[in-house]
Symmetry: C3
Subunit: 364 residues, 3 copies
């Protein structure tokens, strides 16, 4: 196949790419000033295939690069779409949306992605077994992230009287805690390269698709990145008026909607894996992607926020911390027995639903 044919093949290999039509529609809506509500919805939809293109290109490059460099690529670009959307929001000073979407990505990947995987896999295959220890290191990573979120919040609340206080101590704790998280994350990468056992992406076998040329993959990566960046700009530009029109808080939009859009690819891969009776892979995508958000995306955003002159601390609000803590405990308890079924999936979806209901009802 020629490079052009390979690029075309990547675009036509997923039905999700039908949603690419949402991008030009969003531009037309933005130009015509018709409705911030519809612009928001259409821009959000357009981000699903844009993020998917980055994911597909990364997978293709990782496949060519071999396990070591490939693992590094996946670990770095695996959540590139979330990172781009968050950076766009950060530059527009929408700090609350950034934190909310980090929260939503973590709880969504743990509860919604793995919950749906258990339901879909359970209905097709009954009780499914998975390799429990393989999810262990990523679960500990997530627990480390919980500690990193709890301590700044306790410091803020107890020593400075509220979670809205922003004294110098909080910035220093956020900064150094982010460094600790990144160091442990990089140590995890080194560990995986040395032992050929990725602690963050357990059970992820190299895909068996045809090899694509590097040129074609880089082209798709560039297109995907450009499109994600543009559509993220559109989404964040219309955020304030759209939320007002929809009667929705920044918190709910970030936790539920932005997170769903940015993680559509993980949903798709994990559920496919569950349908193929590969629950170790499904659990690996779900827990690994959450850990990546918590230990790589979140600290990078904190450090970048200093460059943007608008420091973002690691102090999340009480709902976000509670939701993340409960989700990590839920996945730890559910993955204990090394077995999953549709009931367990439904229980995880129940946890997600209760959290989502609470986020929906939180007043401004």
């Amino acid at each position: 196949m020629s490079t052009a044919a390979q690029i075309r093949h990547t675009f036509t290999s997923s039905w999700l790419n039908v949603l690419l039509i949402a991008a030009p529609v969003s531009w037309w809506l933005a130009w015509s000033h018709v409705s911030p509500r519809w612009l928001f919805v259409v821009a959000a939809l357009s981000l699903v295939p844009a993020a998917g293109l980055i994911g597909a290109a990364t997978d293709q490059l990782a496949e060519r690069a071999g396990p070591t460099l490939g693992g590094f690529l996946n670990a770095t670009f695996g959540n590139a779409a979330e990172l781009i959307i968050a950076i766009t929001a950060l530059r527009a000073h929408h700090t609350a949306v950034v934190k909310a979407s980090i929260t939503g990505s973590i709880i969504g990947n743990l509860l919604l992605v793995f919950g749906l995987s258990c339901v879909v896999g359970g209905f097709t295959h009954g009780s499914q077994k998975f390799n429990r220890p393989s999810a262990g290191p990523a679960t500990v990573m997530l627990f480390l992230a919980v500690v990193a979120l709890v301590m700044p919040a306790v410091l803020d609340l107890v020593s400075f009287g509220s979670l809205q206080a922003h004294p110098e101590e909080i910035d220093r704790l956020s900064f150094w805690t982010s460094i600790v998280l990144l160091v442990v994350y990089v140590a995890g990468l080194v560990f995986s390269f040395r032992y050929n056992r990725d602690p963050l992406r357990a059970g992820i076998a190299p895909s068996k698709g045809k090899h694509t040329t590097i040129a074609a993959s880089l082209a798709v990566l560039a297109i995907g990145t450009l499109l994600t960046t543009v559509q993220a700009e559109v989404l964040i530009f219309t955020l304030a008026p759209a939320l007002k029109a929809l009667g929705m808080t920044e918190l709910f939009a970030g936790v539920i909607i932005v997170a769903l859009v940015g993680n559509a690819a993980e949903h798709y891969s994990a559920i496919s894996a569950a349908r193929d009776n590969k629950m170790t892979l499904a659990l690996g995508i779900s827990v690994g992607s959450s850990a990546q958000i918590a230990l790589m995306v979140a600290p990078v955003l904190v450090l970048l926020s200093y460059a943007f002159g608008h420091p973002m601390s690691l102090v999340f609000n009480a709902f976000e911390i509670t939701a993340i803590g409960l989700s990590v405990l839920a996945i730890a308890i559910v993955s204990l027995d090394g077995e999953s079924n549709w009931l367990e999936g439904l229980q995880l979806l129940g946890v997600y639903l209760i959290l989502a209901l609470a986020f929906f009802l939180i007043p401004e």
Copy 2:
């Protein structure tokens, strides 16, 4: 045996039924207005055999009905006594007692029932093994209940300033969260019917007693239900003056005393099972009964409270939420190794004792 003889047999098969004498004594005390203190104690005692009769009749009916319908009967009537007492308290607007007794039933079943089972079983048999995964689904159910209690409380505390606030959002969250709990509970029943593996009553083998006719069982069920209803009315009627006379808070009475009375049957069955070296069954009764209270009794009470025109939210107080959360974590950690001994039992009793001490010392 004739139906009358079978009914008589049910009444004479448990020494607990000696306590039935407490019922007429309580009526005499109520009529003579002697002492609210003694009336309270005697009415509480009379509820133990009354609840026991409902349990015995349910078991007999379940045995005849076969696993599917029998499981449904057990799942529905297994905590009928707690439900009747709670509804009586709810109708008399004693919301605090209702929540306290739900809390007490959950922590009592987890810590006291299983703790005593471990001690009794451990002293007779040394180290005892149990089938760990069989308690898994019920543990996840309990965790779901913890989430359902934590989120409304966080919403109330953070957005409305206190756990006493009762805005419309709290009622809406309580209502929909109750629906989610009931849906997952029903899904658990369906799961158990389909796979012949009850997630809430692991290891519960059909009892090997003689079959009793349906007529006799229904008669015992009717008598037990009637007696429980009447005695619950007496107990709740004398509650306020008795607590004043005893210098006891509604919270302590609900968490410790009402809960003990309503769960006497579970205590008896679980400890018997432990003595017979059936720890999987003992754990199943303890965890299963807790889960049933949390996912069936509590949401049903919330929904019924709307019918009574005095909505009860899912916002429990800080002590109750902490106690339930710690108990669920305790049982999860203890049941991890699939082994029990008297030390583990003593540790659970220690947790219960510390919680009970705290509830005793909480001022009005």
Copy 3:
């Protein structure tokens, strides 16, 4: 060997004893009033070998005494140095330092000791296996301690408005909770004697050194105890001016520095065990020593505080409770899979570092 030679042998068998020179230096510094800062540092250093002597003598006596009495000796004197330092601080009314050093000993033993063990062991031996159930009872003990710390704090905060309130109820709850902890601790000792399976010191094999005479061991024990007592007096005497000079809070000094000094022996033994590929022993020292601090040292200090006429409650501050709770959860999650490696060690060290950063940044 003569008794004198055996005593000399004990003194020369550890290179840590070079630090004994710090004791006379501290006396000279105290006499010359040169610098409270340096006096504090030197007195702290001198406590490391002083605590080490008590540990060595206890080990020698335990070895001679056989498993039953030896286990009792270890269980009683295993944390004698921490106890002596804490009693000295308690008598000088430095309650905050006492609580901080209890906290620091618990989290240090769990995160720093076991974290370093995993890193050192992992680098030398790769992935290491350990006997998971053997750490179970001590983990449940630690969980019991968490409950014992959480309930008084919740009572104080919710019923009396702050963690600084000190009503009679808090003293009563602290007193009785301490009794419960001690009873369960003693029950654990009885359990270990009866089943020859120490729940608090799993995998600790009798050391294979030469037998030392009781006289020599008692002499070393006396010297170690005397030296620890004197140096603890020096340390506590210089505490206030030194902290002022160093710009350090009592909280940070207690949690990080005093705890490090008092637990140097545990660090040394656990890391040696890990280097010899005995991870069950390393985990046993780490978790067992923490449990001993929480269930024996802490309650004894609470009870003693009544004798000193300056009651110390079990109400720790929010940072201490959070740090202990998170550390216990961390060790429970890490020890779940029965396997350790350097990444897991680094993750535990990451948790410790984030906690230490927070304690460092907490203002007075």
